[in-house]
Amino acid sequence: MPKANPAARFAVYALLVGLGGLFGVPLLWLLVTSLKPVEQTMSNPPTWLPYAHYSEIGGKRVDVVLDARVTEPSVLVEDVATGRRDLRPVGSVAADNPTLRVVGMAEPGWWLVTERNPAAVGSRPIREVLPPEAIESRVQFRWQNYPEALAAMRGSPPDVPGVPPRKPNPEQDAGFPQFFLNTVIVCVLGVIGAVLSNALVAYGFARLRWPGRDVFFAITLATMMVPFPVLMVPLYGVFKNLGWIGTLLPLWAPAWFGGAFNIFLMRQFFRTIPEELSEAARIDGASEWRIFWTVILPLSKPVLAVVALFHFLFAWNDFLGPLLFLTRRQTYTLALALQQYQSQQGGVQWHYLMAASAVVILPVIVLFFLAQKTFVQGIATTGSKG
């Protein structure tokens, strides 16, 4: 705001760029990791670009993994019995060793490489020592990580051609498409319910005068104070009695009955609409329902959009609700499925985990860029009116 001297302005920009970098780097790291082959996620120090390495071995071009950099003069030995090849220091293997055969020599700076995808299933991958100039390296993004990661979210392994398919098991066969569908159902039904019910209720509080209204509204505001953990245990009982446990209903149906905060938000907005508009409609003989539907709602699109957006974000991101109320794997939402995937994989497949996380994040980011204005206005109004 103030007219600052150039040094101060420079400091402001330097801080902004530095902090912007700090805020941006984690997401960039997620993206980079999701596009790497697995062994490059576990390199020390970390690398910023995924590479593919190719080499000419035995007359054909082979996609290779760089296993280790040779640090001392070494030999590549092959176990005569198993065919397994390893690197040994020069002089550590006797020339007449009956079980190990020397198949190559390497100088410091060379690489021990392994073929990435052996031609035949079950065959031993090619393993060689190569000088750096024999290895062609280039940046290559592994987009196939994405379909592979999503396929890995399935509980049962994929069907293998040639092997008779297993008995179908809806619990374990549920995979990404099912989780995605569940999440969309919870989000879409929840958003429709939240917009309709909160608008209806807020109209009753904002535009109608009736005895008991203000007391009821005060109770409504007071319930905002109750933290969710207090409700958790009895809510489980309520949903159990309704027969909703194990279905998606607990995650979207309550939205159809309104929520204190959204009622408050919409009421504030409805009250700013001039009373004369309603009066004119009443004189014309319109019912309250008609006034609500044809006069108030069309004028309230901004606040409807804010409620829809924030309910969508809540439903898409919610983890505790699904954790408490979803008992069958085929009803999992993406948030819960992602966590289950992580805990079952034990956290080694970082490239897949980051790819699956990116898929969960992407819709939210896209939504942000489509509805940026609603986001910023929504946060600003929710903040300043609180």
Partner: protein, 305 residues
């Protein structure tokens, strides 16, 4: 009752009827039931049995309960003030009439809408002791003093600071609220302060801060209530730290926060009466502290209109 008056009541009740049902079923009944259960021995499998104050008496002597309470207090005491400072600091920077404001605002805001499950996965990876980006960047720095960076989520002393760091990445939401508040401060106030030759620091302290104090108070309370209820991040990160053996709060109960303990008492041990007593103690703590903050705010917060 006159027919017009009756019609008005019917219309009012008609429009608010979804909420009458919703409030009763999903809020009021659970609140009262929770209070009742807190005086009962209750698992979801059997009818509750009245045991009076026994749950509350046992809570007072329950070591794990106090650990969970202390963990939550430590986390909130770190995360809330640092969150307010970070988000207000960013908003002040953005309010300096900078070029490229939308780009910076987007950059700072985006992390706050990343689904918390996904951001937990990301930070799990960044905090990784062996291959994590954070320690790879910090290692040269620590090497200057001959040390090594902490193992973060694997170290009971550093797991909470790690969660605080993660929470700071998500301050974008309150930053936008501050920014809106800062843009509402009347320009004339700055101009007259400038005419009086007031320095930057005093201008912030005597003009900006009083004018945005309602926003600071709002963010502080929301941050506090949110921090006290920290669940998902801690649940995911500790589940990963113990390699899925089911004990929550790893490592060494350092991330056993109140809601995590409540969840495991209710839904893993099925001690729902005891958990309800915990829930009510929690409710009273939050309500009490919010009330205290409100009392302070009465005197300190400046409402212009």
């Amino acid at each position: 009752m006159k027919s017009a008056a009756r019609r008005r009541v019917l219309a009012g009740l008609g429009f608010t009827s979804p909420w009458i049902i919703g409030l009763a079923t999903f809020t009021l009944y659970p609140v009262l039931a929770s209070l009742y259960f807190s005086f009962c021995d209750y698992s979801i499998l059997q009818q509750p049995v009245w045991i009076g104050l026994e749950n509350y008496q046992r809570l007072a002597g329950d070591e794990v309960f106090w650990i969970a309470l202390r963990n939550t207090a430590v986390y909130a005491a770190l995360a809330v003030p640092l969150g307010v400072i970070a988000s207000l600091g960013l908003a002040l920077l953005l309010n300096c009439n900078v070029r490229g404001l939308p780009i910076f605002r987007t950059l700072f805001y985006l992390p706050s809408i990343v689904p918390v499950v996904a951001s937990s996965m990301l930070w799990l990876w960044i905090f990784n002791g062996e291959y994590g980006l954070l320690n790879a960047s910090l290692a040269p720095l620590f090497a200057l003093w001959g040390g090594a960076p902490p193992a973060w989520l694997g170290d009971p002393a550093w797991a909470k600071p790690a969660l605080v760091l993660m929470s700071l990445w998500g301050v974008g939401n309150s930053m936008v609220i501050y920014l809106a508040g800062l843009q509402d401060v009347p320009r004339e106030l700055y101009e007259s302060a400038e005419l009086d030759g007031v320095g930057v620091w005093r201008r912030f302290w005597h003009v900006t801060l009083p004018m945005i104090s309602p926003v600071v108070y709002f963010n502080f309370i929301m941050g506090f209530i949110g921090a006290m209820q920290i669940f998902t991040q801690a649940f995911i990160l500790s589940a990963a730290a113990n390699n899925g053996d089911g004990t929550l709060g790893s490592p060494a109960r350092s991330t056993l926060f109140y809601t995590i303990h409540l969840y495991s008492t209710a839904f893993q041990d099925l001690r729902m009466g005891y958990a309800s007593a915990m829930a009510w103690v929690f409710f009273l703590i939050i309500a009490g502290l919010t009330w205290a903050a409100n009392a302070v705010a009465e005197r300190r917060v400046h409402y212009s209109s």
